[in-house]
């Protein structure tokens, strides 16, 4: 389904607990002066209260929204992966959808992790490059790989990516591609090159993603720049091209997932988009098309990591092992329609039959070797370089 999602703490999330507690203890004691410190006291006790909630051997997984199978819309509903996991393992799980942007999530957890305080969740699912950043900063635990035998089922290229060369700190959750999405009723033709996005005919009707690695990555590849060993100097032409596109008014807006709407409305003639979104959109609107540009698309993946101070590493390992079983993985794929990191899912989907079986033949979920050959993943950016990339990108996007 979609990749960048809404932050939606469930009723039992940390913030919520603290609120109840605060309301309970100080009630409506509006004593004025006493209140500031009282509120602050309530805040500071939040930090200990937060992990207490997961202390009773509960496993807490914080993920993006719409990123797991939810039978009948119920997160813990019967037959869903969360439900079946709880039944199979006896391990209670708390699943929240608290991630809606890598950087924002980082901003949220950074103050705590930099002070060696637990952030609450036992598993978080940030995108590979952010996972790499956390790994470099030493803010994630080493994974107990010996307790995750099913990791052997993973697609090899995703187990030891440049962001985690030893493969000890992160394991993939789902993967996807960024390419060109277009509305044929506006463009009048199928687009299959990055240069099409800079076609003056579409001036003011082009969208780009706020996700820097996808936008800059696609443009860089079209300029023949290799993503495996990125340096700011090497990528300067890509930034220049993007900047030119903005300055000339060619590029209308940078968006998150909301490009979907702009594309359907015709506000965007074409844009950079994510495979999963477009699969869905084209199902209801045949004018919407998606292509991996000739020069190549980006391959990204989100990972599971255990932040430092997590209280339930055992349970986390158990969960990972569970979802790397192709049978379970296939159920998730059938729902979220992204690329599964687990080998054998295609076969399992076929076994499931119906709509799920149809997905097994989708190039966007199971790209063939020739498609895969055109995809590239970003290599690691060191801290300094990344700051340069972010700052330059922010300048172009207007921030």
């Amino acid at each position: 389904m979609t990749k960048r999602r809404i932050s939606t703490p469930s009723p039992t999330s940390q913030a919520d607990l603290s609120r109840r507690k605060f309301l309970g203890t100080s009630g409506l004691a509006l004593g004025g002066l006493a209140l500031g410190p009282a509120l602050l006291a309530a805040c500071s006790s939040d930090s200990s209260g937060g992990d207490a909630s997961s202390g009773d051997n509960e496993l807490w997984f914080d993920n993006w929204t719409l990123y797991i199978d939810k039978p009948e819309g119920e997160l813990y509903g019967k037959g869903g992966t969360l439900d079946s996991f709880q039944k199979a393992s006896g391990q209670k799980i708390k699943y929240t959808e608290g991630i809606n942007d890598n950087n924002e999530y980082f901003a949220k957890i950074q103050p705590l992790l930099s002070q060696d305080k637990p952030i609450g969740p036992d598993i978080i699912a940030l995108t590979f490059w952010m996972a790499g950043r956390l790994t470099t900063l030493g803010w994630v635990e080493k994974l107990p790989l010996d307790k995750i035998p099913n990791s052997a089922n993973l697609i090899e290229s995703l187990t030891k990516p440049p962001s985690d060369p030893t493969g000890e700190y992160s394991l993939p959750w789902q993967a996807g591609m960024a390419g060109i999405a277009y509305n044929k009723s506006v463009t009048g033709r199928a687009l299959n090159s990055v240069d099409d996005l800079f076609d003056p005919a579409f001036k003011g009707k082009i969208g780009m993603l706020l996700e820097m690695r996808d936008t800059i990555g696609l443009i860089a590849m079209s300029l023949g720049i290799d993503l495996a060993t990125p340096t700011f100097e090497k990528f300067q032409p890509a930034f220049d091209k993007l900047k030119e596109g903005v300055d000339s008014g060619q590029i209308r807006q940078f968006t998150g997932n909301d490009y979907v709407d702009d594309l359907e409305q015709g506000s965007f003639a074409a844009c950079i988009g994510w495979s999963g979104d477009v699969v869905q959109l084209s199902a209801s609107n045949p004018d919407i098309g998606f292509s991996i540009p000739e020069s190549g698309g980006t391959l990204w993946f989100d990972t599971m990591q255990i932040p430092v101070g997590a209280s339930n590493v055992e349970g986390a390992a158990e969960w990972m092992n569970y979802v790397y079983d192709p049978v379970n993985a296939a159920k998730i794929t059938a729902e979220v329609q992204y690329i599964s990191p687990v080998q054998g899912v295609q076969e399992e989907l076929r076994k499931m039959g119906g709509d799920a079986a149809a997905l097994a033949d989708s190039q966007l979920i199971f790209p063939d070797a020739s498609t895969l050959a055109t995809l590239q993943s970003w290599g690691n950016l060191d801290e300094e370089e990344e700051a340069l990339f972010d700052a330059e990108f922010a300048k172009i996007t207007g921030a």
Binding site: G32, L33, L35, G36, N103, E104, A107, Q110, S114, L137, K203, G204, V246, D247, G249, I251, R252, Q253, F254, Q265, G266, S267, E383, E384, E386, A387, D390, A391, A394, K395, I396, T397, G398, A399
Partner: protein
């Protein structure tokens, strides 16, 4: 004289401790959660960071301020330009309405002015998103505009400065109408009748009497529109484009995405300093009263 003052001035008290006692909870709160944070912001703005994720170290790093100007001049300029245009538009739209309510409202005055506040009770964000729906390229409004001859086919409002300024004007219009209305309400309109005798035309009477008397309301409204408009980033997010981004966008991004706290703090402080200067000049001439709408 002092002996009798207790009965003058509508019974104003000379307090020794009582006023400070009444003030202390509120003021203390503001000191703790407004003044102290701003001080911390000043400190951060003068700090440097060893690396991206290191904590800022205080080091009299004035370069943060210079880079705030050199790197983000356009955004500053745009913020003040857009906010300025929005303020003027709000005066042009809001004044006649306030005047109409004050002079023609009769017994419905309270209801009419209340209606001005009603949009304010729907979330600002949702109103802005509603504008994206109204203004979209194939939406109702644009279709009407495109039906007008000589309007270029690629004319649009979303993702243009006009869209952003329109959103700013709309969102803060109530802040303009209310103080103007308040100042117009204070005017004894018999004055205009007297003035009509002296100056002849109603327009002259308006210009010479009503307008000057309502200027405090216009000034207060201008501040109340200009200040939030200059620091806004939501209108740009929904109605603008990279080419219309304002300083608020930069500050938000620097804080929450790039972690460049020192420069972000410097940017905020520059914005605050400019606006505070405006406010102090304002309050020197017109007092703080008009700002409490």
């Amino acid at each position: 004289m002092a002996a009798d003052t207790s009965s003058d001035d509508r019974g104003l008290r000379k307090g020794k401790w009582a006023p400070y006692g009444l003030l202390s909870p509120g003021i203390l709160w503001l000191v703790l959660f407004f003044l102290v944070p701003v001080m911390i912001l000043v400190r951060t703005a003068l700090s440097s960071k060893a690396s991206r994720f290191a904590n800022p170290e205080f080091s009299w790093q004035f370069s943060n301020f210079t880079s705030a100007f050199t790197d983000y001049g356009p955004q500053f300029a745009r913020s003040f330009l857009f906010a300025g245009i929005a303020t003027v538009s709000a005066i042009l739209i809001g004044y006649p309405l306030a005047y109409w309510i004050a002079t023609q409202g009769g017994r419905w005055k309270n209801l009419l002015i209340g209606l001005v506040v009603v949009p304010f009770f729907t979330s600002y964000l949702i109103r802005t998103i509603a504008w994206t729906s109204l203004l979209k390229d194939d939406g109702v409004i644009l279709n009407v505009i495109h039906a007008i001859p000589f309007v270029p086919q690629d004319f649009r409002l979303l993702a243009t400065p006009a869209g952003v300024i329109g959103g700013l004007t709309y969102n803060f219009l109530s802040f303009m109408i209310l103080p103007i209305y308040v100042s117009l309400e204070k005017i004894d309109f018999r004055l205009t009748e007297a003035a009509a005798d002296l100056y002849g035309t109603p327009w002259q009477a308006f210009k010479k009497v009503v307008l000057p008397l309502s200027m405090p309301g216009v000034f207060a409204g201008s501040l109340l529109v200009f200040i939030p408009a200059a620091g806004d980033y939501l209108n740009n997010r929904y109605l603008g484009s990279p080419k219309t981004s304002m300083i608020g966008t930069v500050v938000q991004d620097k804080f929450l995405v790039q972690f460049d706290y020192p420069v972000a703090a410097a940017l905020s402080l520059v914005l605050m300093a400019i606006i505070t200067t405006m406010v102090l000049i304002y309050s020197k001439f017109l007092g703080t009263e008009g700002l409490a709408v």
